[in-house]
């Protein structure tokens, strides 16, 4: 910062936001715009993945149905899983947290603004490539887990699998970079006075998630690279005929894909961490034990991966070891749960939509967590592995847990992002529709699992005892979809018709509620001095209800604030990598398309390192100044 300030001795003060219009959005490096782009992308892909889910439910509505069969069904189920995890849940989470993290730690931006925008483009291009395979000969159909040799041999899978590798690889690079950005931002950019033990609970959980994403992503990306080599260059890392091992992929994949559950769940929990104390008008209960639990879960997450394949003959000793570590996850998770209950205990709970989603989360995640205790056992999982029980279990975690918590967060922070409040009545109707629809969809899946229905099957013959459960489940799926539709209408409609939001609509506890809604481009006109764990709440209880200004503020000159320069380099570089990826998807990464991609990437990097990135100064709004 100091260096930059020297370089721009007499800053050109711009009165308004310079980067308006579409070009402004494309070249923006503002973390809030990055957040909004991530959110929009996530919601778009959520719709795609949701339609795929409904197709699956329609097909399974009755035995030997013929809506989508065989390979098409496998493609739909693969895309549903891949899109939901990598292109819906992940972007929505990075969207919320790219937007909120700097605001919550009192910073004006993230540590690496250009890198941040780069990750948006990577994820977007990844998602487009993955889904483009539908129109280029068929989408991936080896499952989101892409077990070899079904995925590694071009004899068994086509262009969709190549698109999967390219698309998911791009998204994974994006996730790794954006989480590195989170970690550096958390460590380097906190407001004066905010020691690590004074960070909002949410920031700890995001830190745990980001640490996992950075470390666990590596084996997966290595695994995908080897898979690309097997498919494109005829190596045999995974093919038994060439000396490879089919199990290698399972280890590399689940080394990432199990932690992925916590990578997504921790930030989702984080939303609830923020909503519950505010709506109960109490501080978060048990901060220190929560920090311990975050660290514990981030470590244990690393040592549970073989519980996804107890049935491959690892032996009783190995299986019992990993079953035990898996069950240990329940300890920190239950600690979170008890902290949440204790936070509400003795409080004055306000039942608005954000709170309803948080409570819905608590009830549903309880089911998801507890059922996990049963299938964590290496022995009983020999029955549950690839059984509908597992589908019930992880949807209670992924929707009942993660999605409900994220919706709580979205409703809660919506006024800060948009400047308007979401409609409460519509919000509550949407919540109950989702809550009821969700349970009707997924509870029967535990039962049909106990009756032995395997997952990933496009149909079943009549007389298996599975008809009724599947029919109920299909009906529920449409109720759930209706609920999501109501939420979407509310989300978009409130942008135009919602009540104007004040700066602090919920009587909040943390720094984001000290600035106007929507957040101005420079976030904080003056950096705040943090004196308590829940900074604003501390000032409300012990001060005059307003933050004190920090004694030093390097980013501020006169009445203007230093801002990062807009840049086109992230887009060009990401576009280059995407074109290279298209070359890979056509199994010719070194063909003309691939080489063009490489060239564009190099141009992008050259722009990146040579352009003037010294930033500019933006005048602070007069009202905000007071």
């Amino acid at each position: 910062m100091a260096v930059i300030a020297e370089k721009v001795a007499t800053p050109a003060v711009r009165k308004t936001r310079a980067d308006s219009g579409i070009w402004g959005w494309i070249t923006s490096v503002d973390h809030k715009r990055v957040g909004v782009l991530y959110l929009a992308m996530g919601i778009l892909f959520l719709v795609v993945g949701g339609i795929e889910a409904l197709l699956i439910r329609l097909q399974l509505m009755k035995p030997e149905n013929n809506i989508i069969t065989g390979g098409i069904y496998n493609a739909v189920l693969t895309q549903h899983g891949t899109v939901m995890i990598f292109f819906a849940a992940t972007p929505i989470i990075w969207g919320i947290f790219n937007y909120m993290l700097p605001l919550m730690i009192g910073a004006r931006d993230v540590a690496f603004p250009r890198l941040n925008m780069f990750t948006v483009w990577l994820t977007l291009f990844g998602g487009i490539i993955l889904n483009a395979a539908w129109f280029a000969g068929g989408a991936a159909d080896a499952g989101w887990f892409a077990y070899t040799p079904l995925s590694s041999s071009t004899q068994f899978s086509g262009i969709g699998m190549d698109a999967y590798l390219v698309g998911v690889m791009l998204a994974q690079i994006g996730t790794t970079l954006t989480t590195i950005n989170f970690v550096v931002t958390i460590f380097k950019m906190r407001a004066p006075g905010m020691s690590v033990m004074k960070m909002p609970p949410m920031v700890w959980k995001l830190l745990g998630s980001a640490a996992l994403a950075i470390t666990a992503g590596i084996p997966f990306m290595v695994g995908m690279l080897l898979l690309m080599f097997d498919r494109w260059f005829g190596t045999s890392f995974y093919g038994p005929n060439g000396g490879g091992d089919v199990l290698l992929w399972q280890h590399l994949f689940w080394l990432f894909a199990h932690p992925e559950v916590y990578i997504l769940a921790l930030p989702a929990f984080a939303c609830v961490d923020e909503v519950l104390p505010v709506m109960s008008r109490k501080p978060y209960f048990g901060y220190t034990s929560m920090v311990a639990a975050v660290i514990a879960i981030s470590v244990i997450a690393w040592i549970v991966w073989p519980h996804h394949f107890y049935q491959v003959g690892l032996g009783a000793g190995v299986n019992i070891l990993f079953a035990t570590t898996t069950k240990m996850v329940s300890v920190p998770t239950a600690m979170f749960f008890f902290n949440w209950i204790a936070t509400m205990w003795g409080g004055r709970i306000r039942f608005n939509t954000a709170m309803l989603y948080s409570l819905g989360f608590l009830f549903l995640f309880l089911v998801g967590g507890l059922t996990g205790l049963v299938n964590a056992s290496s022995s009983t999982d020999r029955q549950f592995q690839n059984n509908y029980w597992i589908i019930g279990h992880f949807h209670y975690v992924a929707i009942g847990g993660i999605v409900f918590a994220l919706l709580a967060g979205l409703v809660y922070w919506y006024p800060k992002m948009s400047g308007r409040l979401m409609n409460e009545t519509l919000g509550k109707i949407g919540f109950w529709t989702q809550f009821i629809g969700f349970n009707i969809t997924f509870f029967p899946q535990f039962l049909v699992g106990l009756e032995g229905m395997p997952r990933r099957t496009y149909t079943y013959v009549a007389g298996q005892g599975w008809e009724l459960y599947n029919l109920i489940s299909t009906v529920g799926a449409f109720i759930l979809a209706l609920g999501i539709g109501i939420f979407a209408i509310n989300l978009v409609g409130s942008l135009f018709f919602g009540k104007k939001a004040p700066a602090d609509p919920w009587d909040g506890h943390s720094l984001e509620w000290t600035i106007p809604s929507p957040a101005p481009a420079y976030n904080f006109a003056r950096l705040a001095l943090v004196r308590g764990r829940e900074a604003l709440w501390y000032e409300k209880l012990h001060g005059n209800g307003k933050m004190q200004a920090a004694p030093e503020d390097e980013g501020r000159h006169g009445n203007a604030v230093h801002m990062p320069s807009p840049s086109v380099a992230p887009l060009v570089t990401a576009l280059g990598l995407a074109i290279l990826g298209v070359g890979g998807m056509l199994r010719a990464p070194l063909g003309p398309i691939g080489l063009l991609g490489l060239l564009v990437t190099i141009v992008g990097i050259l722009i990146w390192v040579t352009e003037d990135a010294s930033g500019y100064y933006l005048a602070v709004d007069k009202e905000d100044e007071a």
């Binding site: 065989g70 390979g71 496998n74 079904l150 068994f156 038994p240 091992d245 089919v246 199990l247 109960s280 008008r281 109490k282 501080p283 978060y284 209960f285 048990g286 901060y287 220190t288 049935q311 003959g313 009783a316 079953a323 069950k327 240990m328 329940s330 300890v331 239950a334 600690m335 209950i341 509400m344 205990w345 003795g346 004055r348 039942f351 409570l359 608590l362 309880l366 089911v367 507890l370 059922t371 205790l373 049963v374 056992s377 290496s378 022995s379 009983t380 020999r382 029955q383 549950f384 592995q385 690839n386 106990l450 009756e451 032995g452 990933r456 099957t457 013959v461 298996q464 005892g465 764990r533």
Partner: protein, 351 residues
């Protein structure tokens, strides 16, 4: 009735209705052919006991925690309309340490049964009469071999009841998974690897199994059956398989000609010169209860449909139909209806 009381009554009603519905559903479980709730052998029983113990445990925990949650929500809802500020409690170290330790201790309860079951699963009991079976997964059928008896068959695994069956499983193309829920857990069948599992059926009967690892287009159609017979019946079956006798007369004789001409390149039938190994071994097909890997009962009608158009029953199968080629391009067989009838008569007569 005041709003709060009405809400409480409503909650109690909803909870009661949910409890009744779940109870009713639980009672209805256990009838399906692949149910986990009605084990038919010692290995399955051990997994079942561990599973039921854990499920009861989590139901108890759920009831306690869900009611605690409900209590908190109802008891501490804001009746002051934002005027009052509750006591500002930030934590309680003893309570937090206490419940963390209690959780670790409680975890042990969930470890005992499954660990015991794991050892039962991994260690088959000694049985001098144990039968060895080797099962190989293919897209989308199961090759079955009895090395002790020199027998090969497909998709139906005949075993003696009351005897330990030692199963070794592998695959040739992609990963499959061999699971017969009522006899116990599953094991993956993987190319380049051999895994072991054991079964013991307490009673004679038919136990349905299914491929349980996504293996391609017709993964869902890759059922199989374990047919447990009494030891005497099993021994008789072994003899019949070791010395298959093919008596083809009338239509069946014509069927045999058609078979040798159009089917023998891929299928083996013991007792004839047909020795193809691409598709399932069809020796003594008439003795089997099902066809197509367990998706249809073994009747002339379903066999006719299978021969005419296997892709309609099992998309992606390597078997061509009368008019349609197979998934990998094997040309259509162009068998006429008359030839199909003859084939069916021939195949059904193999017993």
């Amino acid at each position: 009735m005041s709003g709060a009381r009405f809400r409480r009554l409503l909650l109690a009603l909803v909870a009661g209705a949910l409890g009744l519905a779940s109870g009713g559903a639980a009672l209805a479980l256990g009838t399906a052919p692949q149910t986990l709730m009605n084990p038919a052998g010692p290995q399955g029983l051990e997994l079942y006991k561990a599973m039921i113990f854990d499920i009861k445990g989590i139901i108890l925990l759920w009831v306690i925690l869900a009611f605690l949650l409900l209590y908190v929500v109802v008891r501490f809802s804001d009746r002051s309309h934002g005027k009052e500020l509750p006591p500002q409690v930030e934590g309680n170290r003893n309570l937090e340490i206490g419940w963390s330790l209690a959780l670790i201790a409680g975890l042990v309860i969930f470890l005992v049964h499954p660990v015991k079951a794991e050892f039962v699963f991994e260690n088959p009991p000694e049985d001098p009469n144990a039968v060895e079976v080797k099962v190989t997964g293919h897209q989308f059928w199961w090759e079955v071999e009895y090395p002790q008896y020199g027998i090969k068959t497909a998709n139906e695994i005949v075993i003696p009841a009351g005897t330990v069956v030692l199963v070794k499983t592998t695959a040739t193309d992609v990963i499959h998974s061999l699971g017969v829920p009522r006899l116990g857990g599953k094991n993956d069948s993987m190319p380049g690897r051999v895994t072991k599992i054991w079964w013991k059926a307490d009673q004679p009967g038919v136990y349905q199994g299914q491929c349980m690892q996504l293996c391609g287009q017709s993964h869902a159609r890759m059922y199989f059956r374990v047919v447990a017979k009494t030891r005497d019946e099993f021994d008789a079956w072994v003899k019949a398989m070791q010395n298959p006798v093919v008596k083809a007369e009338g239509a069946a004789a014509k069927g045999q000609d058609v078979f040798m001409q159009k089917c023998a390149a891929c299928h083996t039938i013991g007792g004839t010169s047909a020795a193809g190994t691409v598709g399932p071994n069809l020796t003594n097909l008439g003795l089997r209860t099902s066809i197509g890997g367990g998706i249809r009962e073994n009747t002339p009608e379903s066999l006719t449909q299978w021969i005419r158009d296997p892709q309609s029953l099992k998309p992606g199968a390597l078997m061509p139909g009368a008019e349609k080629p197979a998934a990998n391009g094997y040309p259509a067989t162009a068998v006429t209806q008359e030839e199909v009838d003859a084939l069916v008569a021939f195949l059904e007569g193999l017993k």
